[in-house]
Symmetry: C2
Subunit: 524 residues, 2 copies
Amino acid sequence: MTPAIANVVFSVRDYALNSADHSHVVSISVFVAVICLCIVIGHLLEENRWVNESITAIVIGCISGTIILLMSKGTSSHILRFDENLFFIYLLPPIIFNAGFQVKKKQFFRNFGTIMLFGVFGVFISSAIISAGSWWLFPKMGFVGLGVLDYLAIGTIFSSTDTVCTLQVLHQDQTPLLYSLVFGEGVVNDATSVVLFNAIQKIDVSKLNGWAAAHIIGDFLYLFFTSTALGIAVGLVTAYAIKELYFGRHSTDREIALMSLMAYLSYLLAELLHLSGILTVFFCGIVMSHYAWHNVSEDSRITSRHIFATMSYIAETFIFLYVGMDALDIEKWKMSKTSLWTVVGIDSTIIFLVLLGRAAFVFPLSALSNYLHKTERPPITLKHQIVIWWAGLMRGAVSVALAFNQFTYSGVTWDPVHATMITNTIVVVLFSTLVFGFLTKPLISFLLPRNVLDRRPTADLNSPKEDFTLPLLSMEESTTTNILRAKDSLSMLIERPVYTIHTYWRKFDDNYMRPFFGGEGPRR
Amino acid sequence: MTPAIANVVFSVRDYALNSADHSHVVSISVFVAVICLCIVIGHLLEENRWVNESITAIVIGCISGTIILLMSKGTSSHILRFDENLFFIYLLPPIIFNAGFQVKKKQFFRNFGTIMLFGVFGVFISSAIISAGSWWLFPKMGFVGLGVLDYLAIGTIFSSTDTVCTLQVLHQDQTPLLYSLVFGEGVVNDATSVVLFNAIQKIDVSKLNGWAAAHIIGDFLYLFFTSTALGIAVGLVTAYAIKELYFGRHSTDREIALMSLMAYLSYLLAELLHLSGILTVFFCGIVMSHYAWHNVSEDSRITSRHIFATMSYIAETFIFLYVGMDALDIEKWKMSKTSLWTVVGIDSTIIFLVLLGRAAFVFPLSALSNYLHKTERPPITLKHQIVIWWAGLMRGAVSVALAFNQFTYSGVTWDPVHATMITNTIVVVLFSTLVFGFLTKPLISFLLPRNVLDRRPTADLNSPKEDFTLPLLSMEESTTTNILRAKDSLSMLIERPVYTIHTYWRKFDDNYMRPFFGGEGPRR
């Protein structure tokens, strides 16, 4: 290349680069500014009877989308193209890690069986019903063109729930069992949906036969256990490293950096090994808060609680904002050649199937759980069952991300049927978040009057300052009582299996795990 | 497009995407893992006499580069291409914001005049000497092909310093004036270099005449004041918003999210308006720590200190790691057709010019500052002047980023002369960080014996827990004494200008700013 030509090439490249940079910076700035707006408005509306932060973010997203649409003269309604990578590599890990880190471990493990019933079996039942229902009903409405895998994917896409709305209203102290079930199911449900979705994508359609279901379940179990093991391993390594390295001289910045980066590494490793990063990072969060968190300085404890919660909060707001903006995406609406009435029909069908699919497992499985734990805890009442059913009706970011993954290629699609499914997913997410979300607070105040009347501000639920030491204290109490109870009778294991397993785990934890990996010293 | 063709196209796109994704995830994972390694090794070597964290990161970067080079069979030594955008949009803002947020305001503003002398005039003097020297000496060594703008850019590239090494060794409590000067100059110097670099890039070479210097200075002053004003404005808006919105019911996550996002927004806005983001975000940090920080909950205060320090720490480690990896970039070494001896000659020249350029302003300006402040504070001793001179000899990430900006297009160059300048910059950064860095601790322990003997661990300097309330307490004291002193005599303003301006500012701050924007209540 002669220098003259090279110069021209460079100038052109340079110009293109700067122009691309500039629009990139503009997009980021607008997004950051709108997120700030969401935070402020979300805070102002906190005491409002109907609205929650997801609704605020979606509505602000829609409004920003309209403004951008008008400013760009109808060509585009969003400033960032939805990118599954952005979602799965950067936004989802902090949300799930934070869920694991903040989970109230005592309640979570005490209700582990029931949470797994809802979170794993529930997703299987719900996606089977939604898949079968849409496969049966969509062609009747004149909507054809989807393959078998698409219908299976639709089942999982619409089985992942978003329980944030409900958790903002429930009281952890007043209804601990209910709170724990809704929270636990929310997380396990996300993980199960993603894992099941990936298992379905691996199916070879040409060889679809009776073994397919067995394969899916086998794949699912393999992913579930390896991912969990990886997360626990990374969490333990981090706890051990911090315990051994920082003994005596604490450095808050290094501790926080190491915890965040190791957690993120666990997610990336899982993705590289084709495991479920979401499960890995969730269990990594649990292990870190159980061991590593006790090895760091007091400042690091406060900071780590809030740093992870803040990152999760920003990521969630970002996602809902994006969903709101994308709802007005002209291109996809034009691409989808389906008539308005067909779209309304499809969306109503999906929402009906969502309601049905969730009812089909919440009530039977609650009854089963009540029967299995009849000696161990008070039953899940019908009112609580309705709350659990309702809590999982909202569809959120995971549904959108899975739909984009299934029906687009890097956020773009040229297939009208696929474009319709994307718009349908967004309509269902909008409808469920807005309509069901609006009704959540009134419904819960009707079913559980005490909850709403004297409820604390949401902020306290997100960052429970007073709970900093609570899990440990209450764990100690319950351990003591458990051990006493366990000694009452040998038949305990059969009668009260969960408590008994808990007791043995705690003995093991106290005698072998905590001395090695840190955490509170052995308990009396 | 028929469905069959569409399917093929989709499959190919899909495959390419997944493959690109996968290598992207691999790169991120390796980087995250190596950063974790740096944190652990940096911590283990903390008490070492010679090493500091920059050196650790660069050396680990070189080692990783070698491993990657061997594994890729000599084709590549780095896993992420250096991207100025990554640097200027994501890595630099947290570092500079944290510098502003953690700055000890009392000392910073008390020594504001001297810091500006060093940080602004110093950079002008140093870059003039380096530009002139390289313009005179490079062709004598047979290295030709650079234009006038390239030489001017080289002046600013090698005038930006990296004072981290020295700050890790100095004691804020034992030598407050020295610490404040080195820290303050380090930040102002970065900002000045970047602003000056941008001003130079705007020069029209064809119209280069006597007015060019005046233009540069005019541009510089315009950028300096508008950027500062923008930063202060965003900081005040944030402080006001938090004060008005969160009164009575604090939400740590929202407070932290709002502070971080607004700070980042100030940087992005400045870049969009073609101002200096680095100055904007620095002053935004100062204003936020002076007002907004006092409006948030106790938890938010602790968290915000550490969250910004941690982000800055990760960003710095990332940059040094990258510089280490890039040093082994085979492509650039092959591209640069200069002989080894010429390279050694050029690098020695640059290092000589760096030493000379810095000496040319530190000693005269120290004398000037001593003369101007002769009644107000003890003089800067010769030993301290040597420490200041030495502290600014290391070249760091800003130099590399500016060099990439000047001599490459998105991290790639086909021009041998430009490739040589990139490798030269990296060699100078490596040499100065490793050789000068290694000598810093011994030199300072020789010049200021007390400093090294009973020095605290670095961690405490980065996150000064005990200083949380210190700035305010000492501010109160000094205000009282200042007011008393100011009343002693009307000639005070002429004799002790800095103190007098300080006193008036504090009265204004107490009576008008703090009641409106928050912060400690009016002082007695």
